[in-house]
């Protein structure tokens, strides 16, 4: 299932600051997107997609934002652009992102995607979209499952 939102979805709306002070990650999923879309947390299923417009994840550096989405079951976030700290955080915690400038993905659309090639097919609209390439270091981090696993393996950064 695809959930679709607009531009400038800030981290306060992804997970309000009052819920961020916890190490119990399931707590985050319980409040994800609650001010923006109160129904989301109860309808989202493992493997669902969040699509959005420009500047997704702007605002705070709280890593709880991508973790909340991941814990809720979101498999990938597709946006026209991402705010930079959110982008790094998502890759670091292993939440895949696809940055696609020109997309018109709507909630009812049926999608398939390939994280390796960055290609998304919208079967409903019979269209394909191509995601912007990621720096190699981010691909490596994502392939390891996140920064902790990457540094455990490599001990240092490689660009």
């Amino acid at each position: 299932m695809v959930f679709s939102y607009g531009d400038n979805i800030d981290t306060d709306r992804i997970i309000p600051g009052k819920y961020t002070k916890t190490l119990d990650m399931s707590q985050l999923a319980a409040h994800v997107l609650e001010d923006l879309d109160p129904a989301f947390k109860d309808t989202v299923r493992q493997g669902d997609v969040v699509a959005a417009g420009f500047n997704f994840g702007c605002g705070s550096s709280r890593e709880q934002a991508p973790i909340a989405l991941k814990m809720a079951g979101v498999a990938v976030v597709i946006a026209r652009t991402f705010a930079r700290i959110f982008y790094r955080n998502a890759i670091n915690v292993g939440l895949p992102l696809l940055e696609i400038r020109e997309h018109d993905i709507a909630p009812a659309d049926s999608l398939t995607y390939d994280l390796k090639t960055g290609q998304v097919t919208n079967h409903t609209k019979q269209k394909t979209y191509q995601a912007a390439p990621m720096p190699q270091v981010m691909i490596d981090i994502l392939n390891e499952g996140g920064l902790v696993a990457y540094l455990k393996k490599n001990g240092d950064y490689k660009i």
């Binding site: 702007c58 550096s61 902790v148 660009i159």
Partner: protein, 407 residues
Amino acid sequence: MKPQTITEKILSNHSGRSVYADELTIVNVDGIMATDTTAPMAIKAFQEMGSRVWDNQKMWLVLDHAAPAPNERIANLHKLMRDFARQQSIKLYDIGEGICHQIMVDQDHVRPGQIFMGADSHTCTYGALNAFSTGVGSTDLAGIMLTGKTWLKVPRSMKVVLSGSLRPNVSAKDVILFLAGQLTIEGATYQSIEFEGEVVENMTLASRMTLCNMVIEMGAKAGICHPKGLTLPYDWTPIVADPNAVYDSVLRYDLSELLPQIAFPHSPDNVRNVQAALGTPIQYAFIGSCTNARLEDLQVAAQLLKGQKIADTVRLLIAPASNQVFMDALADGTAQTLMEAGARFITSGCGPCVGSHLGVPADGETVISSTNRNFKGRMGNPNANVYLSSPAIVAASALKGKISLPD
């Protein structure tokens, strides 16, 4: 060598080679910081990778976002941080010592020309010191705790030249709100904004901090002030751009006619002249945050409230940026003037700014605040309306019970 921006110079100095916009590089980091929102996760991630922080003299922890602890869950996170700090011999600033960004600058933990990374998006504040500083998430911070390094893409730079002289009751906050309105919330995404011009040269360090604090509200990675006019109590080497350095864009504003600015709900780029909001009734006024709670901000408010009483329909809360600021405000009479006018002081820290505790607005209430963000729910209640403005406008509005200009 190709000419460089301030940003490119600082990043080159920390890369061991000359780097330019859009290149990926690995930099040595001079200092790092995390708070009670971000440190627990950073510590957890760090402990999965290593046992000793790369340099315990270059890391600081601050309890400010929900301090003193409002509940047992957060109290336990504070304890986790204290335990970690003790085990690693890292300096921890405990409850009430102040907001992380104010402490890093006040305590000289960051200096000109350095690279500083904080697990808080407003770490960009230290550009006031002619340094490169930016916010990262908890896991990125854990990576620096382990290696003392991080990777980044050298941002393109935007030069913003601010000329003219500001009118009375127009301050750094009005300048940065104005710019946010012009550029919008993503107008500087992944850029470094380098500020210069007469307006900057005439700014105190405190005002430069206000200016750089809100560059993240335009998506910028960093904001850096030209060093001209900055005096510091130690020897330092100013870093300026080379002539012909490549800027992605150059914006010039003559600010002599700039009027007081205000951000309407629910976005910090929803900015207009205060005139557009005049008369809007408010119930809650807040002076606080890493944006505007330094001594000069409290003094502006005290000057406007001296010998008067705030409206009885309004509560005015003040959270000084640090305990040091509070003590300075006690010593020079500023705090007493504000208290006599009806202001109430709360523990120095983030408090209401991030909606954790210490003053959450009720449904339907209107707030005027000297902070930096008014996203829906930011102050803890999505059903409140938050306006952002300078301490002068917050104080004038508290006095009248509605959004007002100083007389």
